[in-house]
């Protein structure tokens, strides 16, 4: 409510209202003028009008506060011609701390050739992370086994080469990193969805997956076999489809 007195409004303010710092113009002028007694019913009319004005004013404020003139992520903007508040990078922009100088870590190559090694030590934690990321981003097509029979392939996507194929078994980790980063054939790149460290973790997990499908069981100790048998009943990772989930419409 504006504190300034509007022009041409000379209605005397009621003392009671003035004491509270409110301007008489807020109440209907007619009602104030014809007040005869302090206990008149008419006393309530300006009050009611005030309350109405205040609540209407508050309703207006409410919307402003709920939807402030700031850009929430991906919110529409009327300022830019393309309607996006999220601005595309100017070509060549490098964010602070994102100068990707390390060829090995960020391109998967060493001297222009696919790296045979990982840019950081691979331990159980990295493999676990790799499995989780593989199950999220790769398994829809490549399947959790890596044989290329994922759900999306079953629904008509071009079948990718099995990871247990001779060529891919011989491929170095840097090759898998490169494919995730730049795509391959009908596969889009995942550079915008998977950070480089996770791409390496996935590459490591693919290597482990290949090993798991091409190992002579005879080399395992009895203890290891018992452990594997015990794990056989549990799913290989989290977040998979629910049992019976595929009873849904069945694709088109």
């Amino acid at each position: 409510m504006s504190a300034e007195k509007p022009q041409g409004c000379e209605v005397p303010a009621r003392p009671g209202l003035r004491r509270k710092g409110l301007h008489a113009c807020c109440a209907p002028a007619v009602a104030t003028r014809f007040l005869t007694s302090q206990f008149s019913l008419l006393t309530f009319c300006p009050l009611l009008a005030l309350m109405l004005a205040t609540s209407l004013g508050l309703a207006g404020c409410r919307q402003d506060m709920h939807d402030q003139p700031k850009a929430e992520p991906l919110e529409r903007s009327d300022f830019f011609p393309d309607g996006r508040s999220a601005r595309p990078w100017v070509v060549g922009t490098i964010a602070r701390g994102q100068l990707r100088e390390d060829e090995h870590l960020y391109t998967g190559k060493v001297h222009g050739r696919h790296a045979e090694t990982f840019p950081f030590p691979v331990d159980a934690r990295v493999l676990e992370r790799g499995r989780e990321r593989f199950d999220i981003y790769c398994s829809p097509c490549h399947s959790r086994l890596g044989d290329g029979n994922g759900m999306i392939v079953q629904r008509g996507f071009r079948r990718p080469t099995s990871f247990h194929d001779e060529r891919l078994r011989k491929a170095p980790p840097g090759y898998f990193f490169d494919v995730i980063t730049n795509g391959f054939g009908t596969m889009f790149d995942y550079a915008d969805r998977i950070v480089p460290e996770d791409r390496w973790a996935i590459a490591a997990y693919i290597k482990a997956l290949q090993l798991s499908q091409n190992t002579d069981p005879q080399i395992l100790t009895t203890a290891e076999r018992v452990r594997i048998d015990a794990m056989a009943g549990t799913p290989a990772g989290e977040g998979g489809p629910r049992q019976g989930g595929s009873t849904e419409e069945g694709g088109r």
């Binding site: 709920h66 402030q68 393309d82 999220i136 969805r193 989290e238 629910r242 595929s246």
Partner: protein, 220 residues
């Protein structure tokens, strides 16, 4: 001069006074019902979208994980909406002629954004952060409901402040193991109270509520 009012009007005046109290209470109650109703909160109201994207088909039917599309949910305040490119990862090959996907293809061709209708939107003065909730073991479905059953998405909860505080007062009722956060249809393997209390210690969740119940945690 005789009395204007008959003595019986005393009763009427008393009843009127008492009635006014009830009337005001009823008014308050109606107000409370209205602000909590879907009319205001938009909870359980299916939203129309430019493309009738079905979570039910993609999540329950195909088994695509939440994070395949909502990639930043673990690392940022915003869960992340998939770009048109994410849709086209599959739909450059599958359903390439489907008319309902034309807006997606048009977006890919012309580099114009698809304008989705936002389903879960908090007021701009509340600063919600997805990553911390994921990190502390709050499942997607705890807030977003049975997303795998939503042919078209709806807001599963009111997102009112009282709803937020309901959990912030006593998170032990909802906390689940971190590896179950993205699971839909999760059932705790043990008593939720025992599990919740234990996980709160393990995940260093503010058991004193000094942060959880602090105004500036959500309002800055």
């Amino acid at each position: 001069m005789s009395q204007i009012f008959h003595p019986s009007t005393n009763t009427i005046s008393k009843v009127t006074l008492l009635g006014a109290v009830f009337f005001l209470a009823a008014l308050l109650w109606v107000f409370g019902v209205i602000v909590r109703s879907p009319y205001v909160t938009e909870a359980n109201v299916v939203r129309q979208q430019p493309v009738p994207f079905s979570h039910k088909h993609h999540v329950a039917g195909l088994g695509i994980e939440c994070r395949y599309c909502h990639t930043t949910v673990e690392t940022s305040a915003f869960a992340g909406m998939p770009s048109t490119k994410t849709c086209m990862t599959c739909h450059s090959q599958i359903w390439v002629d489907a008319p309902i996907l034309e807006p997606v293809r048009a977006s890919y061709r012309t580099d114009q954004s698809i304008e989705w209708t936002r389903v879960n939107d908090l007021p701009d003065f509340a600063y919600f952060n997805h990553s911390i909730h994921v990190k502390k073991g709050i499942g997607c479905e705890t807030c977003h409901g049975p997303v795998d059953d939503m042919a078209l998405a709806w807001r599963a909860n009111s997102l009112n402040m009282e709803w937020c505080l309901d959990c912030h007062r006593d998170p032990a009722r909802y906390v689940r193991p971190r590896d179950k956060v993205f699971e839909i249809g999760y059932k705790p393997a043990e008593d939720q109270r025992v599990l919740g209390e234990r996980l709160m210690k393990e995940y260093a969740i503010d058991t004193q509520r000094a942060v959880l119940m602090n105004c500036s945690t959500c309002h800055r």
